[in-house]
Symmetry: C2
Subunit: 223 residues, 2 copies
Amino acid sequence: MPRIHFQQQLAELKDKLLAMAALAQQAVESAVDAFLLRDKGLCKYVKQNETAINTAQRELDEMAYELLAKEQPMAVDLRFILSVIKINGDLERIGDQATAIARRTKEILALDPMELPVDFTAMGEFAARMIRTAVQALLDGDARLADSVREMDDEIDRMNRRAHADLLRLIESQPQHTQQAMNGILVAKNLERIADHATNIATDVIFWIRGADVRHQLSMSMD
Amino acid sequence: MPRIHFQQQLAELKDKLLAMAALAQQAVESAVDAFLLRDKGLCKYVKQNETAINTAQRELDEMAYELLAKEQPMAVDLRFILSVIKINGDLERIGDQATAIARRTKEILALDPMELPVDFTAMGEFAARMIRTAVQALLDGDARLADSVREMDDEIDRMNRRAHADLLRLIESQPQHTQQAMNGILVAKNLERIADHATNIATDVIFWIRGADVRHQLSMSMD
């Protein structure tokens, strides 16, 4: 019964992707906590987590390649496996961004602690929710849920623009705090990029479900 | 003669990827020129170029999917086509980064012109050279050439760190120029990200040639 075996392998692929997504979400939340709490231990945790993400990505990619090579799946299964490969890449890059936040946190440990006028916790939670929602859309095959992630991206873009403008004003009025404010600007930007990766995932889900490439059609209609 | 036909299709896929890479390189160079010359027309050109890149990406992706679905290629050809899909994604994101530079350029048109202490031309040319080299490595099947792109990435990281530090000092000493310096910091960061995408391309080339995933092995050995 080779087809049943193939379905089992597809299910295993989904499980591995879920585990990968969980690691990525955890990386984002831990990185934001590390930044806000100036916690060296959490920075180390994020770094170790990145190694785990890299290993998981490699295993998942290899499994997808083997499936493609040995089973030669058609149509919807082929698109699903290709989507998994792409989503896997975005999850790994989310891990990279979380690590960048942890690296930046280590840099600010030498500076005086300072309250910045940005709600990083809200931004981090929002970004993590986008990842979760995009992966849920994949598991449920729910294109509408995936579409909602694309709408959430507008909101985090707004949060990032506000953070950027507020911190720029802070620098202009208090240049002695330039470095701290600059770190804040870059962390907000990291979170916005994490949200972009979640949006890429959602787009790949829509591509898989609708069997058509909506990427640029949608982005054109939104212009 | 289905195999000969398949080889023709692979050759066509390579040609399309080359055209896509040319568009991406042009986008980077035009965006840097637009930024330095404060040229509105060039900004518009970069934006139009992005539309062309998006269309090219969609066509290339669809062609790769069709090849996978109809020809069910094995081993080295399978890995090559999967690499093309990934490289295609990185080239499209390079176009996005170029557009981000053009968007930032439009923002600074309202500000006073100002000479920044950063050689953006050198950074832009360096990033474009990395793209060119990575794509050449793919065409020649040359893993060593691809490795050299990874080394070039260290150099552009250094350029970006220097730009960041110099512009930060400028802000601290001349807070009235915060916005201009900030734009410079972000453009340098965009160029560094473009270089990252070129490095991703080089990594995919190595993956294809060596038939093994070197991504994290190499990055671990460099730690």
